[in-house]
């Protein structure tokens, strides 16, 4: 065989395929029956093409076409492994580069398949006269990253393959395992391709590689002992947790890792005045901060001591300061506050006229102050002086943190603090402490919110893959319906009293960082049956979640979230992605795809002027999955 001979790898062939739409060059083929192929040219940068050749080409063919005919009939059985020289008649085939195809639509009871380009125009359509196109779709799903369109469930959008982080990750993890002597990427993808049509053989073949190592031991092949252990553990887990689904010709063996059982964690009693005093020494210093936090995490804070303890939780007071030092600090903070307040109060009319940014912030604060918790007695009625205090604190905060300024949602976070403190300076500094914890929620580019939505998705997918899969299939994997929960920490969902109970628990950072995400997972877990039984899509899920406002029993949710936390931490298959979110040390030995790394800048969502459906799906999927 000549060296420069181009190799062709046929991934799929099917005959009896009628072509009904084709690019102009191939118009003479229209309404002819022929063979449809998906081929790969390994030598030209792994280009994949959709090809179609008319039936009559084989009939009036020369010797090389005979070769074609022979191969075609055989490779229906050995489709994926076939690698053969290019047929000279290949040049006559209708040939469309797979990279130009951005979506495909299935219609007419799966007998018609239409490929479309990035503009949504039909490139070519085929009608499958023998059977249907299910086999082809299975193959396409195997070699391309596809998702079902939101607009039309018969349309599969092809996600961009450029970076293909999954493939990179897959390659990397297999390379690290060093299981395969041959080039691992090719092997893995061969498996992926084979799986839909020959699941039993493909799986057995793949597993034989692993058992080869595990059961024959190191004398046959050198192996890192750590890898050895992982494989042994995995195999044990598979033995314990396999489910077998019988199918007509084969058995599908799926490994379903299970979480430990959900245990009950009843809420404790709130931190009492007596307890609080007992935990302070004669100088007022708190020795065992963790003990205080633990009591607060378990049961919250009694209302008669809440005001004082919040000042510690929100870093206005220092846990390890004596009364004298504390007083000194308070004095300093007091002065600092009024300096900043004076800065905006002394702004002249001309200064204001020349400062658009300031005017905009001021106007936004005015608008929001007038509509923050006006149904609460504390802020009710016209000319309520507390509204003025709310306004002054937010204006001063905009001077304290110029970069952030004022963002909607901040007045919601301040309201309960001001209500409890009932003191402008104290409320300001406590608000600063709270903002230090959640300021990324208010990023200009919303990166903080997007990251949290993504983390929430990761946690949901780990805790309940079935539900995560449901959300994915119903266009809701972006978790946007939890946006309000996360932005203002359930302020809009709970009563003033309940939100205070929740916040003080969350401020302890117990049992882990990002416990508020577990609160979300707990509520979603309670609601998921309703969502799934009603087959809710994105719109209905959003409505249902928004309508939960006022109907959440926060004590139950907190204790459930604690139970779920313990399930997750005790899970044997705990991944680094999850460890990272809940603040556990990374082990670095699990092959997880941290989707964050794969996310392009969010500007993809906003700057792409001619976004079509496909690129939208791409951007959204990359950004939030």
């Amino acid at each position: 065989m000549e060296d420069n001979q181009e190799e062709v790898l046929e991934i799929f062939t099917q005959d009896g395929v009628l072509i009904t739409t084709a690019p102009a060059t191939y118009i003479h083929y229209l309404n002819n029956v022929g063979t449809l192929l998906i081929v790969e040219y390994p030598n030209s940068n792994l280009t994949r093409c959709i090809e179609w050749k008319p039936l009559d080409l084989t009939i009036d063919s020369d010797v090389q076409d005979q070769e074609w005919t022979v191969v075609s009939t055989v490779e229906r059985r050995r489709t994926y492994s076939g690698s053969l020289p290019v047929d000279v008649n290949r040049s006559k085939h209708l040939k469309i580069n797979m990279n130009d195809i951005k979506s495909f639509r299935v219609s007419h009871k799966n007998q018609k398949l239409t490929f479309r380009d990035g503009k949504g125009d039909n490139v070519c359509s085929f009608i499958f006269q023998h059977g249907n196109c299910d086999g082809l779709i299975a193959v396409l799903k195997g070699i391309l990253k596809t998702i079902v369109s939101r607009r039309d469930k018969h349309v599969y959008c092809i996600l961009d393959d450029i970076k293909n982080p999954e493939r990179q990750q897959l390659d990397k993890s297999f390379a690290e395992l060093n299981l395969f002597q041959e080039q691992s990427s090719a092997y893995v993808w061969k498996f992926v391709k084979n799986f839909p049509n020959r699941p039993y053989e493909a799986t057995m073949e793949a597993f034989s590689k692993i058992t080869d190592i595990v059961y024959r031991g190191p004398e046959h092949r050198l192996m890192d002992s750590e890898v050895h252990n992982i494989l042994h553990r995995s195999l044990e887990a598979i033995e314990n947790n396999t489910t077998t689904h019988s199918h007509d010709e084969y058995e599908l063996i799926a490994h379903v890792p299970r979480l430990p059982a959900l245990k009950e964690y009843p809420r404790g009693r709130p931190l009492s005045f007596e307890q609080w005093k007992a935990l302070q020494d004669s100088e007022g210093q708190v020795e065992d901060v963790e003990a205080v936090k633990l009591v607060i995490f378990r049961g919250g804070i009694s209302s008669n001591v809440r005001k004082e303890v919040w000042k510690y939780l929100l870093d206005y007071y220092r846990w390890k300061c004596s009364h004298a030092e504390q007083q000194n600090l308070i004095k300093q903070r007091n002065e600092e506050y009024f300096i900043m307040k004076l800065q905006w109060r002394s702004m002249t009319k001309i200064q204001e006229d020349n400062f658009t940014d300031y005017r905009e912030r001021k106007s936004l604060i005015e608008k929001d102050v007038n509509r923050t918790d006006r149904t609460l007695d504390y802020f009710a009625g016209d000319n309520n002086p507390n509204l003025q205090v709310l306004y002054d604190i937010l204006m001063t905060y905009a001077m304290y943190n110029f970069d952030l300024g004022y963002v909607q949602g901040m007045s919601d976070l301040l309201s309960p603090i001001l209500y409890l403190m009932n003191n402008e300076v104290e409320a300001f500094w406590c608000f600063v402490g709270f903002m230090n914890k959640v300021s990324s929620n208010f990023d200009m580019d919303q990166a903080g919110m997007k990251e949290q939505l993504q983390h929430l998705h990761t946690l949901t997918a780990f805790y309940d893959p079935e539900f995560a899969n449901y959300l994915y299939k119903h266009d809701s994997a972006n978790m946007f319906f939890c946006f309000r929960w996360l932005l203002v920490w359930f302020k809009r969902e709970l009563s003033q009293q309940d939100v205070m109970r929740l916040w003080e628990v969350l401020w302890t950072d117990l049992p882990c960082q990002n416990f508020h995400l577990l609160i979300c997972v707990a509520i979603l877990d309670t609601e998921k049956n309703i969502l799934m039984e009603n087959n809710y899509g994105f719109t209905e899920i959003l409505k249902h979640i928004n309508d939960l406002s006022g109907n959440i029993d926060i004590s139950t949710v907190i204790s459930k979230a604690e139970g779920m936390y313990n399930q997750i931490v005790d899970a044997e298959h705990l991944t680094d992605a999850v460890r990272l979110i809940i603040g556990l040390p990374i082990l670095g030995n699990t092959s997880i795809v941290d989707s964050k790394e794969a996310s392009p800048d969010i500007s993809d969502l906003t700057t792409n002027g001619d976004t079509d459906e496909v690129s939208y799906e791409n951007a959204l999927t990359h950004s939030f999955l």
Binding site: L18, T20, T21, A22, P23, A24, I27, L30, N31, V33, S107, H108, Q111, K112, G120, N122, V123, I127, Q129, R150, R151, D152, L364, K367, D368, R371, D373, R374, T375, Q408, G409, S411, D412, F442, D443, M444, D445, Q446, M449, F480, F481, F483, R484, L487, V488, R492, F538, T539, L542, N546, L605, T606, N608, G609, D610, T611, D612, Y616, A619, L620
Partner: protein, 208 residues
């Protein structure tokens, strides 16, 4: 014409913070006004059944947050919109100036198939308040420059012109949807696979 499917029209209300988006939606759907509506966080929607030209349609009216930085999330909510309602406050000139960027941003994020023909409706809200900063003429001129967008002056507080405005919104949305249905409806319901010779007659034969 006799048997028609239920029609759902998706309408997005956009405009600066505090121009009255939530109030307009609630006035229209619930016939209520309150000056205690909180600033909208994320997005929410209300639905209402209306009759447009003897057809029963369900309007799904989406209310979104007005602050600029929350715009990047709009893409999830704008998709599939049939009409976009732009709102400004007739007493606040800045809210009028922002209209261009709201319109552009919507077109970018929703990316409708025919951006030039996509229906917008402009509402100048709070006409019950003084002093007036944007005259009717100025607003109409803007509408004229944008492919003749329909314009209504409303007061969500006094329920002034709200009903009429949403009737127009519904009608525009309906036109948009029936056009896009024609566009998407490229595959006929039935096809006889045995009859391969007359394939050209079904209209989807060639993309060139």
């Amino acid at each position: 014409m006799a048997t028609r499917k239920k029609v759902l029209l998706k309408v997005i209300i956009l405009g600066d913070s505090g121009v009255g988006k939530t109030s307009l939606m609630n006035q229209y759907v619930n016939k209520k006004f309150s000056n205690q509506y909180k600033a909208t966080i994320g997005a929410d929607f209300l639905t209402k059944e209306v009759i447009v030209d003897d057809r029963i349609v369900t309007l799904q009216i989406w209310d979104t947050a007005g602050q600029e930085r929350f715009q990047s999330l709009g893409v999830a909510f704008y998709r599939g919109a049939d009409c976009c309602v732009l709102v400004f406050d007739v007493t606040a000139p800045n809210t009028f100036k922002s209209l261009d960027s709201w319109r552009d941003e919507f077109l970018i994020q929703a990316s409708p198939r025919e951006p030039t023909d996509f229906p917008f409706v402009l509402l100048g809200n709070k006409v019950d308040l003084e002093p007036r900063a944007i005259s009717t003429k100025r607003a109409q001129q803007w509408c004229l420059s944008k492919n003749n967008i329909p314009y209504f002056e409303t007061s969500a507080k006094e329920a002034l012109n709200v009903e009429q405005a949403f009737q127009s919104i519904a009608r525009n949305a309906l036109t948009q949807q029936s056009q896009s249905v024609d566009l998407y409806n490229e595959f006929p319901d039935q096809i006889k696979l045995t009859n391969t010779t007359n394939r050209n007659s079904n209209g989807d034969s060639c993309a060139c």
